[in-house]
């Protein structure tokens, strides 16, 4: 194991130690023991920056299941590094924040940090694994740890609901992704991501598995990243503790899908289906998320929908950026701006959204509520928090001087340039891209303003609050302050990241555009001159302000879309109806009556055998090999037939038993007739014993039962006729199709010479095939012991009495 492997595994090792530390160092908040790990990892991963800058890839392999092509290969390239830095960096801040957020004595800190570390390790594994199976493994581990974290307060109904919902949706996507991975393996013969990407060729586009694989992989990415219509789990996941929401549901886990899409862009990117799906779903999500965020009243719900919308924005940028792969080389990186924007905004979103969640957490922590209808006028109580929220929300709205402005401008640039690409009929439909983006941005502006101005300005309503609000402790403020200062620093020095992080990440997403040692040159500046993007932003601000101020008047718009058709309703309905359906279905066929089960068994028996016989055309009757029929056979057969039919029509059970005995004795007569003395003897005795036992049962029947004939039922008649016919047909066919001679000649010849016996039946039973006999007597012994214990050990019955 290399150091890199240890780095990924270290959170898991720490997770094992958390309960021990928690138990023996109760006086110190467990978080302090965790905090060094992400910081250490962050600084370790920083050391890769110089490598990835030159597009060098660090790769380490650890064999796991070599025979299946599965190994734990870790690869650090630009894209992976960006994500690891986010995971470890924000991870450190979140751990620090959680130390102040979660009480030492109130909460189960051991479970919290165990889950959090599990999640951190899994996330590192997702973004660094080069082997798709290992990636999937870590992917599911993020789902599981996220499930645990959402359900952290498991005594709350809503937490459990949210956890279950997110689990169902993300695991659904994860399984789809596994399907996609397997399809990819079938296409390319390898699980190695880097090899798969290097194999991309026009022939693969024509491969019949190409589109299914793409759709399955995208389903995985869309569910994880809360894209339309799978976004519904994210708002419900807000029941998790705020540090979790900040970490998982804004900065890291929900970006795993983004990572996956970015990762597979070199492979799928040139396909128009990919372009339309990724950018289309992204834009839809962008609009839907921002549109819905405005009507929310819970601060965390606003943030959840805003996350959904921002993720949609990044997704659409990745989709649009993939179109750049159609151009061999880009002198002025004209169409790659979308990809640049995606990565840049990915980073920016993590900074401002993380800080916003922490701010909301502080409000919740200090006032006891997150409902914007109860909050108001907190500005004077919490000046620092207010400042932080202004920075975060204005950045989210895309205003200068915050980093959101830069990425939003680039977003508009990317969308406006879509029309000029000259691909996939974009001349006609391309105009929609900037329009949707612009409308969504207006809504983004509105909810960002709601986020800032509703809680902090307006009227202070102390009677609605549980606690008297006051500024948060310093420790809680450190993390959001760091994030918020990043927000501002990046605006003023945007090129700080461009060469070190964004360019290498782009090289991972669009590798085919580079040749040799070429690298991307990214230049981000705050001022482009009076371009269309600037006017779009001005339009956003102007319209957004109007909409924000007149919010109360147009809120009716949300009633147009009926609540009944909401996706949550759909989800709940789906869950409920599937449960109801399976319940009804199971009740229908598992009705507990042995009669119906027998009907199923015999019906299937008849149908399957009849079809086989018909399909194989196997029914033949061959009369050449038949023995002559004598008088005795006819007589005995008649006896048996009469006996059997009489059983069906017997009025009393006693008659049936006696008739059954008669049939049994006739069978033994048949044995006599067909020269089987051993069988005849045994049959006689056994028949006697079983008739005696039947009589015993008869004697013990409850008295009140009426004696009556078997009731006639058509289904029973049909099925019994069917079974009888089938067996007869098969017996006839089998007899007519003898392929080999019998092996009995061997026994005839060797019974005396080899086994020193003259009774061939007995010699076969005890000598040639004594094994069967040995186990048959074992069966008898088991039966006897079974009867003995059934009768003697009636413990339950005794207690009832």
């Amino acid at each position: 194991m290399s150091l890199l492997h240890w780095a990924i595994v270290s959170p898991f090792i720490f997770a094992i130690m958390v309960p021990i530390v928690y138990k023996y160092f109760r006086k110190i908040h467990t978080g302090w023991f965790i905090l060094p790990l992400p910081i250490l990892l962050f600084s370790y991963f920083l050391s890769f920056l110089s490598n990835t800058r030159e597009n060098q890839v660090t790769s380490e392999t650890l064999t796991w299941i070599p025979s299946l092509g599965i190994d734990f290969t870790v690869k650090v390239d630009g894209l992976g590094l960006l994500f690891t830095l986010l995971i470890t960096g924000i991870g450190s801040l979140v751990v620090l924040y959680s130390i102040y957020y979660l009480g030492k004595n109130k909460e189960k800190l051991n479970t919290f940090y165990t889950y959090l570390l599990l999640f951190m390790g899994a996330m590192l594994g997702v973004v660094l694994s080069d082997n798709l199976i290992v990636l999937y493994l870590f992917w599911e581990l993020t789902s599981f740890s996220s499930f645990f974290l959402i359900g952290f307060w498991y005594d709350r109904e809503k937490s459990r609901y949210g956890a279950q919902k997110s689990m169902l949706i993300t695991v659904f996507g994860g399984l789809c992704m596994l399907g996609g991975i397997i399809l990819l393996y079938l296409m390319t013969g390898t699980y190695r991501l880097s090899e798969i990407i290097s194999l991309v060729s026009p022939e693969l586009f024509e491969h019949y598995l190409f589109i299914p694989a793409m759709i399955f992989i995208l389903l995985g990415a869309f569910t994880k990243s809360a894209q339309f219509p799978f976004h519904i789990w994210l708002p419900d996941a807000m029941e998790a503790p705020t540090p979790v929401s900040a970490y998982l549901h804004s900065a890291t886990m929900v970006k795993a899908g983004i990572y996956l899409v970015a990762r597979f862009t070199p492979f799928f990117g040139e396909s128009p289906v990919w372009f339309w799906l990724v950018s289309g779903v992204g834009l839809l999500t962008l609009f839907w998320g921002s549109f819905n965020a405005v009507k929310q009243t819970d601060l965390k719900s606003i943030l959840a929908f805003s996350t959904v919308s921002q993720l949609g924005m990044i997704m659409s940028l990745l989709g649009v950026g993939s179109a750049a792969l159609h151009f061999e080389s880009i002198p002025d990186s004209y169409f790659t701006v979308a990809t640049t924007a995606a990565i840049f905004h990915l980073f920016n979103h993590a900074t401002f959204k993380g800080s916003l969640f922490m701010v909301v957490g502080i409000i919740d922590h200090e006032t006891g509520t997150r409902d914007i209808r109860k909050l108001g006028g907190l500005m004077t109580f919490m000046p620092i928090t207010f400042t932080l929220s202004i920075i975060g929300a204005f950045s989210m709205a895309g205003l200068p001087p915050f980093n959101g402005f830069l990425s939003k401008e680039m977003f508009f640039t990317g969308m406006v340039r879509v029309q000029e690409m000259g691909l996939f009929n974009l001349e006609t439909w391309g105009i929609l891209f900037p329009i949707i983006a612009w409308i969504a941005s207006i809504f983004t502006f509105v909810y960002s303003m709601v986020l800032v101005f509703k809680p902090f300005t307006g009227k202070y309503q102390p009677e609605k609050l549980e606690k008297k609000p006051h500024e948060a402790p310093l420790g809680m403020l450190i993390s959001p302050i760091i994030l918020a200062s990043l927000v501002i620093i990046i605006f003023f020095f945007p090129d700080l990241l461009s060469e070190s992080i964004i360019a290498p990440a782009m090289a991972s997403i669009l590798p085919s555009l580079l040749s040799g040692t070429e690298t991307f040159h990214v230049h981000i500046s705050a001022w482009h001159g009076f371009t269309i993007e600037l006017f779009m932003t001005i339009g956003v601000v102007a319209l957004g302000t109007i909409l924000f101020l007149t919010r109360e008047k147009w809120k009716q718009v949300y009633n147009i879309f009926p609540e009944k058709l909401a996706f949550n309703r759909l989800y709940n309905g789906l869950i409920e109806s599937s449960q109801r359906l399976s319940h009804t279905f199971t009740n229908m066929y598992m009705n507990g009556s042995i009669r119906s089960y027998l009907i199923y068994i015999f019906a299937f028996f008849t149908v399957i055998l009849a079809t086989t016989l018909a399909v194989k055309d196997a029914f033949t009757v061959n009369t050449t090999n038949l023995a002559p029929i004598g008088v005795y056979e006819v007589l005995l057969s008649l006896l048996i037939v009469i006996g059997c039919i009489a059983i069906l029509f017997a009025k009393s059970r006693l008659t049936s038993i006696i008739l059954l005995g008669a049939v049994g004795y006739t069978v033994s007569l048949f044995y006599v007739l067909f020269r089987a003395p051993d069988l005849a003897l045994t049959q006689l005795v056994i028949e006697t014993v079983s008739v005696a036992l039947f009589l015993l049962c008869f004697y013990h029947l409850p008295k009140k039962r009426n004696e009556e004939r078997i009731r006639f039922k058509l289904t029973n008649l049909l099925i019994s006729i069917g079974v009888g016919t089938m067996v007869t047909l098969i017996a006839l066919s089998a007899h007519s199709n003898k392929l080999f001679d019998s092996i009995s000649q061997y026994y005839v010849e060797n019974t005396y010479t080899e086994a020193a016996g003259k009774n061939m039946v007995n010699v076969i039973l005890v000598d040639f095939r004594g094994f069967d006999t040995m186990f048959e007597i074992t069966v008898l012994a088991i039966a006897a012991i079974g009867i003995f214990s059934m009768i003697r050990l009636r413990l339950a019955g005794r207690k009832e009495r």
């Binding site: 003395p677 005795v685 020193a756 016996g757 005890v766 000598d767």
Partner: protein, 141 residues
């Protein structure tokens, strides 16, 4: 009122030995003529059942203090033991051996290990039938 079944009892006393002798004959003749451990065992237990019919169960239990479950186990042991004995002579499981042996009283006798196996069957069948009948019979009392 207790019925007097002296005829039945007297007949049973005579018939019993004939049946048992017949069953033993069946058992030993099994290798050459119809019969064998199975039918022999059934016959013997038939004799015992007749005894139980003529007298009552407790008396029979006193006369023949046999635990038939143990008899079953012994029978199984015989069967498995005969089969496993072959392993000592480096031949496959359940290989029988036979030959003429000069016994002290009987003189030159043909012996076969299959008889031991059959004896196991015989015991098991007696044990099983009698266990079942005894259990059910005692339950009714």
């Amino acid at each position: 009122m207790k019925t007097n079944d002296i005829i039945l009892q007297a007949c049973t006393k005579i018939v019993l030995f004939i049946i048992i002798l017949f069953s033993v004959h069946m058992f030993f003749a099994g290798h050459y003529e119809p019969g064998g451990g199975f039918i022999g065992g059934l016959m013997t237990s038939g004799a015992l059942v007749l005894l139980m019919l003529a007298f009552d169960m407790r008396t029979i239990k006193k006369i023949l203090p046999i635990d038939y479950k143990i008899l079953t186990a012994i029978g199984l042991l015989f069967a498995v033991g005969t089969a496993a004995g072959a392993l000592f002579f480096n031949v496959p499981f359940l290989t029988h051996a036979f030959g003429h042996v000069d016994l002290p009283i009987l003189g030159d006798t043909s012996l076969h290990t299959a008889t031991l196996f059959d004896l196991g069957v015989y015991f098991v069948v007696i044990g099983v039938t009698m266990t079942i009948i005894q259990t059910i019979g005692e339950d009714g009392e």
